[in-house]
């Protein structure tokens, strides 16, 4: 038997044809790919880069940093180095950049900002030629802490262009003078905040599940006409602006808002309850905002379950609880996992609602990122925290991707 084969010319033609089609399809995708590369991918990459690349201090006092890199750390730096520091600090003071240096060093050694600023202000008036000779004396006279090794370690550390220190800080770790990684001495903030965010994410996910599952079940089993009408009450809040919903909750929860006023009027309470600007309000409002996202995938799955299965199990004599646990519930698992992960992922990255209703103790990890972006201007730390959050979300999304298909969501 002779197998029919393609001649090499035909193969080449087919391959060329395929390549042509591939290229055609790709050329349709290309504009968007380029667009997103600029508008979205590059910005995220910049953020990741900023979490490890931090040349500020190196650019501010390059000569001092070069000398410090050779310093062994046993004794105080030599006079030459101190003079260099004095000269460069004076230059910064003249250009009004000493403040920036102070801010950077202060992140490594709390309290050093004032030392650097006070020194800079005093050096500003002194001639370069004098500093060349006696820079070290002026430095140490301006502030005694220049005789302490701690400040020099802090400057050396801040002078590293590529650094892992912001990731360490984001994980409440630090390097000690010997370069060993240890947990931060003074304060543990970020791990606690990550854990708090996770804890609240679990609570909110649990609440949406408890509220959402029975509602989705009821909607899926109600007659079509009733269900369609009632479904509007799920979709309407879902489509309403986040800010509108947050505003409404502020009106409900504030000190003399609707809920407190009603409770006072009904004589249930004597003093208004503190309902707003705390963890409680973050949890309630976020539950409200994310609840539709739990209901939608659950409803989609429940709607596609054939009631015959449940009836069959019933007519075979299974008790309702058993029918639910062994027949119905397993069939809703895909919708359930989709809902849980959707709510969980969105909660972890949420910013705006906690910022408005959370007060001080209802803040999440996103809010501290925004804080370091906008208030403390510690952009490298914000980037490192953001990168960690992103990594976490990607892992969760990978799970989400395996468990669900986004096309199945009924959004309208």
């Amino acid at each position: 038997m002779k197998r029919s084969t393609l001649s090499s010319d035909e193969k080449a033609a087919a391959r060329a044809e395929l390549r042509h089609h591939q290229w055609l399809a790709f050329s349709l995708v290309l504009p968007l790919l380029c667009f997103l590369l600029f508008s979205f991918i590059a910005p995220i990459s910049t953020l990741l880069l900023r979490s490890v690349y931090h040349p500020n201090v190196q650019q501010l006092i390059p000569h001092t940093i070069a000398l410090l890199n050779e310093w062994d750390g046993h004794d105080l730096p030599n006079n030459n180095l101190m003079i260099q520091m004095a000269i460069e600090l004076k230059k910064l003071a003249k250009q009004r950049e000493a403040g920036e240096l102070a801010q950077e060093i202060n992140r490594n050694l709390a309290g050093s900002a004032s030392q650097i600023k006070i020194t800079a202000r005093q050096l500003r008036q002194i001639d370069d030629a004098i500093l060349m000779h006696k820079g070290q004396t002026y430095l140490q006279d301006a502030h005694p802490a220049w005789r302490d090794k701690a400040i020099w370690f802090a400057i050396k550390k801040a002078g590293q262009v590529f650094t892992d220190q912001y990731y360490l800080t984001a994980l409440d770790l630090e390097k000690n003078a010997q370069g060993k990684i240890q947990s931060r001495q003074d304060i543990n903030l970020y791990i606690a905040l990550f854990l708090k965010t996770l804890k609240m994410a679990f609570i909110v996910t649990g609440l949406t599940l408890i509220l959402g599952y029975p509602l989705a079940y009821y909607l899926a089993s109600a007659p079509a006409r009733t269900a369609n009408v009632l479904f509007i009450f799920v979709l309407l809040p879902f489509w309403t602006s986040i800010l509108v919903r947050t505003t409404a909750w502020i009106a409900l929860l504030q000190t003399n808002g609707v809920i407190n006023a009603s409770l006072l009027w009904l004589d249930i309470i004597k003093q208004p309850l503190p309902l707003l600007y705390n963890q409680f309000s973050t949890i309630i409002v976020m539950t409200h905002i994310l609840l539709p996202l739990m209901i939608l995938p659950l409803y989609a799955v429940m709607k596609s379950i054939d009631p015959c299965y449940v009836r069959a199990a019933g007519s075979l004599g299974a008790k309702p609880v058993r029918i639910f646990l062994t027949v119905y519930f397993p069939m809703t698992l895909s919708g359930l996992s989709a809902g849980i992960l959707l709510v969980f992922i969105l909660f972890i990255g949420y910013f705006i609602t906690p910022a408005l209703v959370g007060g001080t103790d209802g803040q999440l990890i996103s809010n501290i990122i925004a804080f370091h972006m906008q208030k403390s201007n510690n952009w490298a730390l914000a980037s490192a925290l953001g990168a960690l959050l992103l990594l976490f979300i990607i892992v969760l999304y990978w799970l989400f991707d395996r468990l669900t298909d986004p096309n199945k969501l009924k959004l309208v």
């Binding site: 055609l24 667009f35 509602l215 489509w239 602006s241 909750w249 949420y350 972006m373 096309n407």
Partner: protein
Amino acid sequence: MSSFPSYYTISHKISFVLLKLFAFLVLFFLMLPLLIVIPLSFNIEPYFSFTQGMLKLDPNAYSLKWYHAFFSTPIWLTAIKNSLFIATASALLATTLGTLAALGLSANTMPFKRFIMAIFLSPMIVPLIITAAGMFFFYAKFNLVGTYLGLILAHTSLGIPFVIITVCASLKSFDQNLYNAARLCGASPIRAFFNITFPLIKPGILSGALFAFVTSLDEIVLVLFLAGPEQRTIPRQMFSGLREQINPTILAVSTLLTLMTILLLISLSLLRRNEKAP
């Protein structure tokens, strides 16, 4: 389930009634904020709470003054203009780029399909605060922070996943043979697209555009980081109102936005019905 099957026992019926009760309570929880906002926006007093007069349905306790305040404050009017301008521009851009890309993605010959799809959907997954921080760093280099263009680029990125999802979904149900037939009959690719493919996937494109439009209209985090004083949008204005000076004008705005949501929902469901029709 108005009538219960005959084999249902009393306890079945009771549990179903309880379920129904619970479901209605949850629906009430979902609708509560909207139910509160609308009447409060007519409050004559400058507070976020019901007055005695309002509860007694005294007509003097109600007024349109916050609506009047909204329509006569230049900042709010500028905010409407800015919001609509940015949302329309980014919806148009996202729809054009997204539809083209969806056509490419739905071709069987598309290489690296999964990977490219993941990139296109990523703006939906990455937390907004991270996107906002990254864009702030990167756009500042190109002097795009504090410009309309910067905001449009940012919002377009957020709208793209929605366009990709809706257009890909309608392309899935589109019979590629129709297009091939048109090509065989001698139509150019462009003509075949506009005469055959486009009319059939139009509902998908339009609902994608609508999603992108609404996403931009409601977006606040990127606006907080990227907008200058000139680009105040409605959400931005509401945000500073909530942070600084709580005043029922925000409730009036909320009511108007809710009405718009209802209109959008109606048009979306009409679109969907249209999509099902063929």
